[in-house]
């Protein structure tokens, strides 16, 4: 295999960096899932994260969203250090995530799942004092946002367990799109999807970017990644092996770095070339 030339130096300046991680370490017993990983998401970009199974992609995004608390390292939002104690802290700051296992409650209906954890209350006495849910309002909003995704779905009142795997993924994606205010992170959002639905999710990701929000997309689907990503973060063995641009690198290059067949030189070394 030929070594891959780094043709686009990775910027280290924090200009326009929305979310950043430095030297994050996470161990599960004697397994090191994250071995000092760095991460950088710039404003308005679609950043793909790729890597083999077990490379640490899901662990990385969980550390970024407070779903796991890293053993070491710093996470910065808009240049400010943040310490998420749980997923709620990240959600409150407008970071929405589609987790790989979707985080849906199977027996609850689509609308309830879309608003899970951030249910709306009725206005006035009923909501403020009796704490009544605004079921109608949430249903209407759910209809609207599922229509935006253009997924074929049974009624909005059907339980999520009655949906196909792909339709469930659609619910999780729609939820992230509905609530993202700062950025969205999607862990393999198209893994169970057909060609048409994959295209719809990719459209939605681009629509989120149109709103000015950066998106992190984890995917094993290289053609998809090359279709929409601005930059590609390559994970290998719990570390960031490289960040490359789809304009300057081929799929073969990315796969080579991912599998360790090719080495990517340190950004500092490449910058000095």
């Amino acid at each position: 295999m030929t070594p891959v030339e780094p043709r686009e130096p990775v910027a280290t300046a924090p200009v326009g960096v929305v979310l950043e991680a430095r030297n994050v370490i996470k161990r599960y017993g004697h397994i090191t899932a994250l071995d000092g990983v760095d991460f950088e998401l710039r404003s308005g970009e679609i950043l793909a994260v790729v890597g083999d199974n077990g490379a640490g992609k899901s662990s990385l995004i969980k550390a970024l969203t407070g779903a796991i608390v890293p053993d070491n390292g710093d996470i910065l939002l808009d240049g400010q250090p943040v310490h998420f104690k749980g997923p709620l802290d990240a959600r409150k700051l407008g970071i929405e995530t589609v987790y790989q296992d979707l985080a849906v409650a199977a027996a609850l209906d689509i609308a309830s799942n879309l608003f899970l954890g951030r249910e709306r209350r009725r206005p006035g006495f009923l909501g403020n004092v009796l704490r009544m849910l605004d079921k109608k309002g949430m249903r209407a909003e759910a209809e609207r946002s599922m229509a935006e995704l253009k997924f074929r779905l049974p009624s909005i009142g059907s339980a999520v367990e009655a949906l196909s795997g792909g339709q469930r993924q659609g619910v999780a994606v729609a939820r992230a799109a509905l609530f993202a205010k700062k950025l969205a992170i999607m862990d393999e959002p198209t893994a169970a999807l057909g060609v048409r639905e994959t295209g719809q999710v990719l459209d939605l990701i681009q629509a989120i970017r149109q709103r000015g929000l950066p998106v992190v997309l984890i995917s094993h689907n290289m053609p998809n990644v090359f279709e929409i990503a601005d930059r590609i973060h390559i994970m290998r063995l719990g570390k960031r092996a490289a960040v490359v641009s789809p304009k300057t690198h081929t799929m073969a290059d990315v796969v080579a770095i991912m599998t360790g067949a090719a080495k990517f030189e340190e950004p500092a070394a490449s910058a000095s070339r």
Partner: protein, 328 residues
Amino acid sequence: MNSASALSFGRMSKIAARFVGTPSVGPLLVLLAFGLIFSLTNPRFLATQNLSIILQQTVIIGTLAIGQTLIILTAGIDLAVGAICVLGTILAGKLANSGYDPIAAMGLAVLACSAAGVAAGSLISGLRLPPFIVTLGILGIITAALRLISAGGAFPVTDEFLGWTGNTVRLNGFIVTYGVIIMLLLYGMVWFLLNQTQWGRHVYAVGNNPEAARLVGIPVGRLLLSVYVLAAFIYGIAAWLALGRIPNADPNALQTANLDSITAVVIGGTSLFGGRGGLIGTLIGALIVGVLRNGLTLAGIDPLWQDLVTGILVIVAVALDQLTRGRR
């Protein structure tokens, strides 16, 4: 078949499907079936007087089953349900009998019950111990403590306030105790919480998929704690209702409360795996247990047979739950 009749047939099967799909319909049919059998075998069963007795007999288990429903909805189980309630009756009775203001005595007893819920909830949510073991331990502790306190014996509780829930009103010749009314009010209030508030939504979410609930930002630990405390508070109210039914505090009472309350919940269609079911089913389930015990008593059958039948019933109900779950 012409198209018009095909259409109406389609619509009818749709209506039927919705009707059968409604989770409380199954339990309702079981209740009606038992009622039919008992009324055919014994004419006294359907007498107004007997029906109001069934309601009164259902009050304690029916109230305890509200708390048990909440806990089972979170995929937990409460084996201390009867013990906590008995704790309430003994404490209230002892305090009132030794000259405390009866309202304060009952209040303290309800608080003590709630404290048992705090203990169970903290161990389950904080240390992540299995609810089965925690509540079994609490059952052992409370049972032993009560026998020590009361030196093993039952004692009469004659205070008027403590017995107040046994008072009756007459509705068209149908005698209803205040206790029945309080139970129904509790059902209404907790139904509202479960079905109309964020808290209730979160109870279902945690029972369905606790990890998903955590990831969307629901404070799972705090929610579980609140469920165990509310349940134990309701057991405390049930203690008051129990004193209204029988003016006697007995450390050995309510031995079958675990079996009966779990049976009521499960027959009522709430899944032991959590996240599915609800209170309307539980009310019907509690009535089924009440009808069964009453009908068998009227038939002159030994109470031990009632436990046996209830035991079979709960196993059948769980088996059905398991089977339908497998289909999903």
